[in-house]
């Protein structure tokens, strides 16, 4: 029966064949597999198929967990600057011990500057910045943010005194003590942020918790070495060059191990915005390292490679930040691994 004939017989919307004018695409039952094949079937650029189509069920494609409300640039910037500061404190202490005054000044000043900026980012990201001091109401080992707040309240004053003494040449004894404290707390400042993001239900962050601290200290060392190469003269920048090797190597190897081990929740690290940042970070770190080793006789080449290393560390942090959000916003990264866990227990 044609549409025209139907109209002749009745003006009602209800016909023998069902409702007239109802769009067929409204017919979307849930409770059946609602995985989005278009996104799942993407291939790697070399054409090799990735994970086979995974079927999973969700509630209208809505995320299961609530995505972090932390915002960019505050929090990825904090991860980057905290790492830079922590590793630069070590470089500064080493430079003082081995008599490299220019590298010492650059690293100590950089550590304090980055530390203060990172704190600004942290406070700015709070929903109630005026209540920042509530962070120090208690100390909780179960909350990496609490641990970090106390760490920073010890680290920043020490780093500030170390930097001031080194830049002005005053109170060298106090400065040395502060340098030691700063070098002691620096590695903790650079690494605890991995626990901070991993101690969440965000799949890409939580699943990567064993390797994440090593990615972070690697990235931190790369950033600090980058600062040394960028701002210290050639005569002093040898240790920064060596540190770049350690940093880039540690970061790339642990990132690779993490991605390989965690399976499907590693996808966001190579896709979308997070993936783009992570890729940029890897490329920049290799370029920076190559420049640091090859350009050791050129001030300009060293500065350029230092800038690349700093940028690589920032890109990696931004990539990890966005990949985490991506993994929180797609229910498949929550549902599929949990389903697999249930199946494997059977």
């Amino acid at each position: 029966m044609s549409e025209f004939q139907q109209l002749e017989h009745s003006s009602s919307d209800v016909t023998k064949d069902g409702l007239r004018g109802v769009r067929p695409d409204r017919d979307a039952p849930t409770g059946v597999a609602t995985g989005r094949p278009g996104r799942l079937r993407t291939r790697q650029r070399d054409g090799a198929p990735t994970v086979p189509d995974a079927k999973f069920t969700s509630y209208y494609g809505m995320p299961v967990i609530n995505s972090p409300v932390w915002s960019s640039p505050d929090i990825p910037g904090y991860l980057f600057l905290g790492g830079l500061a922590g590793a630069a404190s070590l470089l500064g202490a080493g430079a003082q011990a081995t008599g490299r005054p220019a590298l010492e000044r650059v690293s100590k000043g950089g550590a304090f500057g980055a530390g203060v900026l990172s704190l600004v980012g942290l406070v700015h990201d709070l929903g109630r910045p005026s209540r920042f001091l509530h962070m120090l109401r208690m100390f909780k080992i179960t909350s990496p943010m609490s641990v970090g707040s106390w760490l920073l309240s010890g680290y920043l004053p020490a780093t500030g005194i170390a930097a001031a003494s080194s830049l002005t040449g005053r109170a060298p004894k106090i400065g040395t003590m502060a340098t030691a404290a700063s070098a002691l707390l620096g590695p903790a400042v650079a690494s605890y942020t991995a626990a901070l993001i991993s101690d969440t239900a965000v799949p890409a962050w939580h699943d990567g918790y064993p390797e994440m601290p090593f990615v972070f200290v690697g990235s931190a060392a790369a950033a600090a070495s980058g600062l040394g190469l960028l701002a210290a003269p050639l005569v002093d920048s040898g240790p920064a060059r060596a540190m770049a090797m350690f940093g880039v190597g540690t970061e790339l190897v642990s990132f690779q191990l993490m991605e390989r081990r965690i399976g499907i929740t590693a996808e966001p690290y190579s896709r979308g915005r997070g993936g783009a940042y992570v890729r940029a970070g890897k490329i920049l770190s290799l370029l920076g390292l190559a420049g640091a080793l090859l350009g050791r006789r050129s001030r300009g080449g060293s500065a350029l490679s230092g800038a690349a290393l700093l940028a690589s560390s920032a890109a990696t942090r931004w990539g990890i930040f966005h990949a985490g959000k991506q993994s929180a916003n797609d229910p498949k990264y929550t549902v599929i691994p949990q389903r697999e866990r249930i199946e494997s227990r059977r």
Binding site: R26, P29, T30, G31, V32, T57, S58, Y59, Y60, M62, P63, I65, N66, V69, A87, G94, D125, L126, G127, R128, R131, F132, H134, M135, R137, M138, F139, K140, I141, T142, S143, P144, M145, P187, A190, S191, S198, D199, T200, A201, W205, H206, Y209, P213, F214, A221, S225, G238, R241, M243, F246, G247, T250, R296, A328, P331, T334, Q338, R339, I342
Partner: protein, 298 residues
């Protein structure tokens, strides 16, 4: 200034107390506490009236949070959040109706699932564990509540929750969630949602009693042939040590937007700290090596 966090004094064995079947109120510092209270939400009798959503909003004076038409069946509140503490899910399925529905012939090819979701008040609550200010605390009833005069809006609890319950109220900056009507409980009243539920889908009471009731209801449904029926959050040995608010579902949890196997993230925190410590030592080693190897490089 509040005293040093009770979780440190009362949890000498971090590994042990972050897992398993424990009494949260005792662990939280209430030796002679009332019985642990909770919800049993039996979704098999939910009619999707949303009285719970409305009663919750009214009693707790929760602001309006968006009037949108989503097209997701009858669900326009979409999920739990800072200003939605009860959320009724609606799922339309190409599945036969359950046999126990009175007056409706089974054998059709359509069924409608409705379920009122709420904060689970976990035995091992990730939101509470990660809160740096102590704003989130454990009540004497074993429930988890945010102190809004303490919360500084750091947002850590939000991605920590494995269920996507707690969220930040944008215009306010702080984190909000179900309090299991702490104010009403304190004066012997039941929570507003349970009070308003016309079918007793939301049942409130001591958790032990609710678990018994749920077991009986599950047996009844299985006997009637509804074999898909399952309890969710009932098991004290699951990844969060059991929920203070648990559910009877008629399909897999993820159909309702619930995680199928939630785990409190702090279960892995002892291991995380060990890895952080190892990485920090690695960084020191790397720096020492850099100064030692410097001559070789230059």
């Amino acid at each position: 200034m509040a005293p040093v966090d009770i979780t440190i004094r009362r949890r000498p064995d971090l590994d042990g107390s972050l897992l398993g079947d424990t009494d949260p109120a005792t662990q939280g510092g209430y030796p002679g506490h009332p019985p642990r209270m909770g919800f049993f939400t039996d979704t098999s009798v939910c009619i999707g009236c949303k009285a719970c959503e409305v009663a919750c909003k009214e009693w707790n004076a929760i602001p309006e949070d968006g009037l949108v038409f989503t097209g997701m069946s009858m669900d326009n509140s979409q999920g739990l959040g800072a200003s939605t503490w009860r959320h009724v899910a609606f799922i339309e399925q190409r599945k036969p109706l359950a046999a126990q529905d009175p007056g409706v012939q089974p054998g059709g090819d359509f069924r409608w699932l409705m379920a009122s979701d709420v904060c689970k008040h976990c035995t091992h609550a990730a939101c509470l564990d990660v809160c740096p200010t102590g704003s989130l605390f454990r009540t004497e009833f074993g429930t988890v509540v945010v102190q809004e005069d303490i919360c500084n809006g750091c947002g850590y609890c939000i991605p920590a929750c494995p269920y996507g319950v707690i969220d930040q109220r944008k215009e306010d900056g702080r984190a909000w969630k179900c309090t299991l009507c702490y104010d009403r409980l304190s004066v012997g009243q039941e929570p507003a949602c349970a009070k308003s539920c016309p079918t007793n889908s939301i049942q409130f009471g001591p958790l032990d009693e609710l678990r018994e009731r749920a077991d009986a209801r599950l047996a009844q449904l299985h006997e009637a042939g509804t074999t898909d029926a399952q309890l969710y959050g009932r098991d004290p040995n699951d990844g969060v040590g059991g929920d203070g608010a648990f559910f009877l579902l008629l399909d897999a949890p993820e159909v309702y937007g619930l995680p199928p196997d939630p785990v409190v993230t702090t279960r892995d925190l002892p291991s995380m700290w060990k890895h952080v410590a190892a990485a920090a030592v690695t960084l020191v080693g790397g720096a020492l090596a850099a100064f030692a190897a410097e001559r070789w490089i230059s």
